[in-house]
Amino acid sequence: MRLAAVFLTTVLAAQEKPPEKITLPTAEADLARGKALYLGSCTYCHGPTGDGGKGANLARPELARAKTDGDLVRIIETGIPGTEMPGAWHMVRRELLQTAAFVRTLGKVEVTPVPGDAARGKALYDKHGCATCHTVKQGNAFAGGLMGPDLSAIGLRRSAAHLRESLVNPGASLPEDFVNTVVILKSGKTVSGRRLGEDTFSVLLRDAAGNNHVFSRSGVREVKRIRGESPMPSYQDKLSASELDDLICHLASLKEAQ
């Protein structure tokens, strides 16, 4: 079978389904199987204990996008269009239910409050010019730059631990769209920025000033994807430990649904 087509078909089919009432399994064997499935398919983004990382924090009693078990099963099955969450179309019905049941157990932990003060964190966000590169939705408008990821709902999508890592070591886990790309032209000129698109014959790039470039492959010597390195500086030495807590607290509070 052809993978992309499968995903598309599954998504389309799922959109037509009416909401469903679901009873998740509770037997130990089902939860054990659900755990194995979770470890195979979900941990890369959500972490082995579900406290997030690249993916949303699942170790909480209520999941913003999956308030009901039916929603949870549907999201596991079809993914969330427009996000990095793919559908687990390879799972049969029982496996979807087992995985969902295990995901619910992840939420039965004491929620660790994020230390710090969100209001002070907001002030630090403004003071350090985070909005130069990042956007946050305010009311119906978006404010901020485009070089970094949109942070409007970052509190839903990233755990506090992951936010901390991103501030201290920004290159550790970059969303694919934001991996710094350097285009070295045959003329010797170099342009770096965010890759907007790339195909066999051209490379599209947005530089730090926000200018869009299109390069013909015939004029390009090399396209470098700089992994493990972010255009964002580390804030480890720029902020005190308590300031870092405040900023993380502020980011964790950003939950504007998009």
């Binding site: 993978l3 499968v6 194995a36 049969v92 014959f201």
Partner: protein
Amino acid sequence: MKSLAIFLMTAAAWPQNVPYERILNAHKEPQNWLTYSGNYNGQRYSLLNQIHAGNANKLQVAWVHQTGTQEAHETSPIVVDGVMFITEGPNIVKSLDARTGNVFWSYEKKIPEDLRLCCGRVNRGVAILNDLIYYESIDAHLIALDARTGRVRWDVEIADYKLGHSSTVAPLAVKDKIITGIAGGEFGIRGFVDAYDAKTGKRVWRTYTIPGPGEPGHNTWEGDSWKTGSAPTWVTGSYDPETNVTIWGTGNPGPDWNGDVRQGDNLYSDSFLALDADTGKLKWHFQFTPHDEHDWDSTQVPVLIDAAFRGQRKKLVVTANRNAFYYVLDRTTGKFLHGKAYVKQTWSSGLDDSGRQMVLPNTSPTVEGNLVWPSLAGGTNWFSPSYSPDTGLFYAPIKEQGAYYFKGEAEYKPGQMFNGGGQRNVPDEEPYGAIRALDATTGNLKWDFKLHSPANAGVLSTKGNVVFSASMQDFFALNAATGQLLWKFKGGGFIIANPVTYMVGNKQYVAIAIGRALFVFSLPD
């Protein structure tokens, strides 16, 4: 008198009569594209040379047909005497003027709402024989349409869609029969190849791709697993008139990624089957991936070539298989002659003398995920390769990509997905593709034209020393001998189809489905 002249002219444009002999001798009328691969030999090679390596850079759009459906288009047009026949997913067949793109007729098949498919509501094209167009619909019917009007002559069910059968393949017309394949490899069907009487639609023979009790090979399936072992036939086979054998590739065993429930080699999944075209009797088989657990269907078009192999003139069938290996077989016996990897692979230490894979340990899917190259999409896939007798090269559209393979539960329920696992992409891997020109008898790399992403479109080669193919939204032409880029065109939609070429009047055209449209190119006047 005047009206009679017009009538005669019109009638002259409508012979639309393609007896078997015309398809058999398709090379004598290169202005037409009479069968899926252009010719029975599966080469997707044309003798036309008005467009050649010296002028291909002047190609421009002649016309575009917007389809009006939302499905991706995999159609490979048929062109007869200035008239083109295409399919559009999910359920449409059209006849167009091949010179202008004007539509003569459109046929729409009513399809059930509860159809379940693995991979999109696609179709790869029709067959023509005499005055009828043959179409396999997505709900697994074979339908004969009047070539002039699109009116249904007959409509027969190939198999029950409720059990997971579907059809996406272009049928193959041979003699007085229409040979058909079937899809449904992710639904636990039992695959087959059928032949129908071209005039009446009556089924003449059916050969199952999985042997039943008492037949040779049946014991390669554990217990009752043969009943749901899949091995579908979803890409058009080839035909060798000299031996009267039609060769079809078969798909993955089911369930795809969980081999525990089907111990054994699982014949004849992932194989080439050589069938007597009159009776369907199995003449020989060759299995590329015994006990496959990675969904490496072997449905690539079998390419029949006559060439010197180690100094001896041989009748060969060659293929770049989804499992990452290129194979050269004797097509009169099915005997393995030569094989080697043509893309990165990590699952086999190579081929033994009989052509059997020497599978490395710990390469099966696991619950936690096991990293193997190539990915389930394979080193290549369903879209056609091409062979040019001028260069002796086999042009393979390839994919360089690995995957984490997962094993899941496999529980058969009629009409439901039965795949037993899945795959995940490799983090930070930047998969890529290429058009790879291989020496057809050795598999040695002659040249390589790198593509930014894994290939998803077929290849056409021509007497004009040109190779046409596509990458993402770009359709392009390469020098067939050197791989040098001659021309490119951004079509603004993804290309997952096979190109064809034809001539009307004194002008050569090249056609390819791009996005939701059919684009046709020619040189300026």
